[in-house]
């Protein structure tokens, strides 16, 4: 074996250096241990004891949500919660037996109590919501029960559950130890930070099994702020009653002067009281599995082919670009032929020679096929975007559906193919890939009537939004307005919308499938519900200075003039009464 004296000396010397480092590092450890265990021991002993102090949250009162006419649509209700302190098994069973004499506990309650007992929280909630009868019975024997108390809690309560569900939204208990309610949808979610308030807390000392020894300190909670929204509760209720005969429908009313949403109804809706408080599994399943999706707000959360409503946009674009003059006439023979395929007008017999006003009045498809061809898809997209299609309307709802505004670029990115001329044509009558929410359609009319491209809807009452003016050419607006007035005097909506204050409006029946030749002219009522056309009506009134936009949508309602326009008329009448 190799041995070398010099090498041995070198290693010996260096080993001394390393052992020196080891001693130094040990001294560092020893010094720090001294600092922790002797120097600042008092601090850590205190902290160690603090580990026995629990913070119990005191929930704040959540702010109320009120309508413009002062009705509370989301408030708080006092509930009695029965809680018991942790104690040993024998005492616990004695207490429970006594309690059973005056309150009813089902299997679900028993299961929950057993679980909470295992968790060793300092309190066990026996029952969340005591009835008045239970409470009064209980007060008689409360003195015999040790460690049992009744607590007052604020439970979220919606006094007008029907028709307000989508606007007001619902809450749910947040996870974690703080069971602070959090707004999940609607106004509850939008203004959650203002409504929530700040939780206070109760510092209690607990022993090793988590039983309360005494209260050390408490901090009061700060209540949340109330919110006033722009909805008119009476109008909302009225519209809800009108629409609730339908399977699925929606309506929205906007105030043109300030963009405030006066009413917003979506059918079917849900009872926020059920969703926000204790809900059983079967209740939740029935809501989630409903084929009509009651949780979806059909005004902002769902987009449809707008159909003939979109003709307003095409007409406006053509006038603004001076592609046509109001007097130019186009011949409608009942269809337009393109590459061996005939695109039919809804009126197979044709409208004959027709100008812009009549084309809107009678909702002639051929006229708009030709105008769309002349405009080209790029110009249509440009104006549609300016009037709010394919973008967010600016309403406060989170996750607003923005619909779909098809363009050459979109087609290429989505399908990898080029844009076809026929697609421009069917986009011109609001069909094809085009999708829009009801609110987008209403906002479009709001923009035209207010003469401002920046018109935007809002849910808050009196929110002075300093909207910059982006003026729209007044001449074009007048022509469009006049045509829309004619729609309600002698056009597609004449049957239901002829009034003395004057409504400007447009009906729309958008197809949800390709029509077979055998079904031409068939009564929509004979078709299965899922295959019927969507019915739309958007309009504003009064004629001289439009103040309110009303948009009505009936899902698979058949024709716009039959299903949607009469409802809109009733809404207008109700608004004008005031």
């Amino acid at each position: 074996m190799f041995d070398d004296n010099k090498s041995g000396n070198c290693i010996k010397f260096r080993a001394k250096i390393i052992f020196g480092i080891i001693l130094f590092l040990s001294a560092v450890l020893a010094f720090n241990l001294y600092r922790l265990q002797i120097g600042s021991a008092e601090k850590y002993v205190l902290l160690s004891n603090k580990n026995r102090i629990r913070l119990l949250p005191i929930l704040p009162r959540r702010g109320r949500i009120m309508t413009a006419d002062g009705k509370v649509i989301a408030g708080n209700m006092c509930k009695y919660k029965l809680v018991m302190e942790q104690c040993n098994e024998k005492k616990f069973n004695e207490n429970i037996d006594l309690l059973r004499q005056c309150i009813y506990l089902n299997d679900e309650d028993d299961f929950r109590i057993a679980r909470l007992r295992k968790k060793r929280t300092s309190f066990v909630v026996i029952k969340d919501d005591l009835s008045w009868e239970e409470y009064s019975k209980l007060s008689m024997i409360l003195f015999r029960l040790n460690g049992v108390s009744v607590e007052n809690i604020h439970a979220r309560h919606y006094p007008m559950p029907l028709g307000f569900g989508h606007v007001v939204g619902h809450i749910s208990k947040s996870g974690g130890s703080l069971q602070i309610p959090v707004g999940k949808t609607g106004v509850e979610a939008i203004f959650d930070d203002r409504l929530a308030g700040k939780a206070g807390n109760l510092q209690i000392e607990v022993n090793a099994v988590g039983k309360k020894v005494r209260i050390i300190d408490s901090q009061e909670p700060t209540a949340g702020n109330d919110i006033v929204i722009s909805i008119d509760s009476q109008l909302q209720k009225y519209i809800y009653d009108l629409l609730s005969v339908e399977k699925a429908a929606a309506a929205v009313v906007l105030d043109i002067s300030n963009g405030e949403v006066v009413a917003m109804v979506s059918i079917p809706d849900f009872d926020p009281n059920i969703i926000s408080n204790q809900m059983t599994q079967s209740q939740w399943q029935s809501i989630v599995n409903d084929p009509l999706f009651p949780l979806i707000n059909r005004v902002v959360g769902c987009s449809y082919p707008p159909g003939s409503i979109f003709k307003i946009v095409v007409a406006f674009a053509a006038l603004n670009e001076k592609i046509i003059s109001p007097m130019d006439k186009i011949f409608c023979s009942g269809g337009v032929k393109l590459d061996d395929h005939v695109f039919h007008c809804w009126n197979r017999w044709g409208h004959g020679n027709i100008n812009l006003c009549d084309a809107l009045r009678l909702s002639c498809d051929c006229y708009f096929f030709e105008v769309a061809k002349k405009l080209g898809i790029d110009v249509i997209v440009k104006y549609a975007k300016k009037l709010g299609f394919g973008t967010e309307t600016g309403i406060e709802f989170p996750n607003e559906n923005i619909g779909l505004l098809p363009s050459k670029k979109w087609k290429f990115l989505r399908y990898g193919t080029s844009w076809k001329p026929y697609e421009t044509m069917i986009t011109g009558i609001g069909q094809g890939a085009l999708l829009a929410t009801l609110l987008q359609s209403a906002v479009m009319l709001g923009k035209l009537c207010s003469g401002n491209y920046n018109f935007a809807p809002t849910l808050i009452k009196g929110r002075k939004k300093n909207i910059a003016m982006a003026p729209i050419d007044g001449k074009c607006i007048e022509i469009i307005k006049n045509a829309l007035y004619q729609v309600c005097i002698s056009g597609t909506a004449a049957g239901s919308c002829r009034t003395d204050y004057g409504i400007l409006g447009k009906t729309s029946s958008s197809q949800v499938r390709k029509i077979k030749p055998s079904e031409i002219g068939m009564d929509q009522k004979l078709l299965p519900w899922k295959l019927r056309d969507h019915a739309f009506f958007i309009g504003c009134a009064p004629f001289k200075t439009p103040r309110y936009v009303v948009a009505v949508f009936v899902e698979h309602g058949g024709g716009g003039s039959v299903a949607a326009a009469p409802v809109a008329r009733k809404i207008f009448d109700r608004i004008m009464e005031k």
């Binding site: 074996m1 260096r14 390393i18 560092v28 450890l29 241990l33 265990q37 160690s48």
Partner: protein
């Protein structure tokens, strides 16, 4: 047999006896004063370790010299396999499943790297060790497994292997100026290393710098551990009286944070005793190393001593918040088979070398 048992070994046995006694008490207390489960399994592992140490005690010491490279190569390949196809436990690929026993190649790499380095340097003359170029191989010996372990990811073990390896290379005569230059530049390049870390590793370092940053999340371990150690005061809360560990405020109290339980229950006196016992064992390793003239045995003993101390330092420093939380066990005290076996083997090797020096084999 009695005659061949070296007198010097008795010191080590006495030190080990005290340490193992403390370890059993610590495990018993950390398991909540119960023998069932971890405390009992810990005792079984001690006996398994003693059996292994005894086996190594009777093995011909020349075996380690002859098979040093082969062992190293075998563990290195196992490491690569563990990286590719190992069991993922607690989010890191460290284990190979042998059907009857899941083992951690990185744990055995700690030993075999020492064998390989000692073997390499035992073949060099003093003149050769003064040249930089003869140290290039050893550097790769160290960096290769360290990189594999770092990738698992196990930052702590990789760092320990680099420290121990660097220690041996330094001892063997690495040019001191270059050594200082490398350490200096490593310190300067440290900030760059940040970009190679996993998110959870960055988090640990951030919470180490500022434990209040996330006092319920990642900073929780550090804070609770410090509270436990600090509240021990001079004599501790007494055996089985620690509230931190009893009320489950401490995480990993049986494994990486076992020192915390001991410090809480036996106070400053207890933690100093443990630290002192470890320093004595280290000193013993160094002393044994110094009496050998044979370079392989000498470097091996120094290496084992440095390995032991680096574990002790990192683990205790972690428990009292001086270093970020890295999963390094406390030798002999932490609950865990692989670590117990590693250090029992170290002791077996040491006693075996002493015995065979007497009989003139080494």
């Amino acid at each position: 047999m009695k005659r061949s048992f070296p007198n010097e070994s008795k010191i080590l046995l006495a030190l080990l006896f005290f340490l193992l006694l403390i370890s059993i008490l610590g495990q018993y207390s950390a398991s909540g004063g119960l023998w069932e489960g971890q405390a009992l399994r810990h005792i079984m592992r001690i006996f398994l370790g003693i059996a292994l140490a005894a086996y190594i005690f009777f093995t011909d010491f020349r075996f380690w010299n002859n098979y040093a490279y082969l062992l190293y190569a075998f563990v290195l390949v196992s490491l690569a396999i563990a990286n590719l196809a190992g069991i993922t436990k607690l989010g890191a690929q460290r284990w190979i499943d042998l059907y009857f026993f899941a083992f951690q190649p990185s744990e055995f790499m700690k030993l075999t790297i020492i064998f390989a380095l000692a073997r390499y340097y035992s073949m060099l003359s003093f003149i050769e060790t003064m040249e930089f170029k003869s140290h290039i191989f050893p550097i790769f010996f160290v960096l290769l497994p360290a990189l594999l372990i770092f990738k698992q990811p196990d930052l702590g073990t990789a760092a320990l292997i680099i420290c121990t390896g660097a220690g041996i290379i330094f001892l063997a005569g690495f040019p001191p100026k270059i050594f200082a230059a490398i350490i200096g530049s490593c310190l300067l390049l440290c900030p760059l290393g940040w970009f190679f870390l996993h998110d959870y590793q960055r988090n640990r370092i951030l919470t180490f710098v500022d434990p209040d940053r996330d006092s319920l999340g990642a900073g929780y371990h550090i804070l609770q551990s410090k509270i436990a150690v600090g509240s021990g005061r001079l004599w501790g809360r007494g055996f089985l009286q620690g509230t931190q560990s009893k009320l489950n405020f401490l995480p990993e109290k049986n494994t990486d944070f076992i020192f915390t339980t001991i410090a809480e229950e036996f106070g400053f006196a207890g933690s100093l005793t443990v630290l002192f016992l470890f320093i004595l064992i280290c000193y013993y390793f160094f002393w044994v190393a110094s009496i050998f003239r044979n370079k392989f045995t000498k470097l091996l003993c120094y290496g084992l001593g440095m390995l032991l101390f680096s574990h002790v330092f990192v683990n205790i420093a972690m428990a009292i918040g001086l270093l970020p939380v890295v999963g390094i066990p406390l030798p002999f005290l932490s609950y865990g088979g692989s670590s117990m076996i590693t250090f029992m083997i170290s002791c077996g090797l040491l006693m075996s070398s002493l015995k065979q020096k007497k009989s003139g084999i080494v």
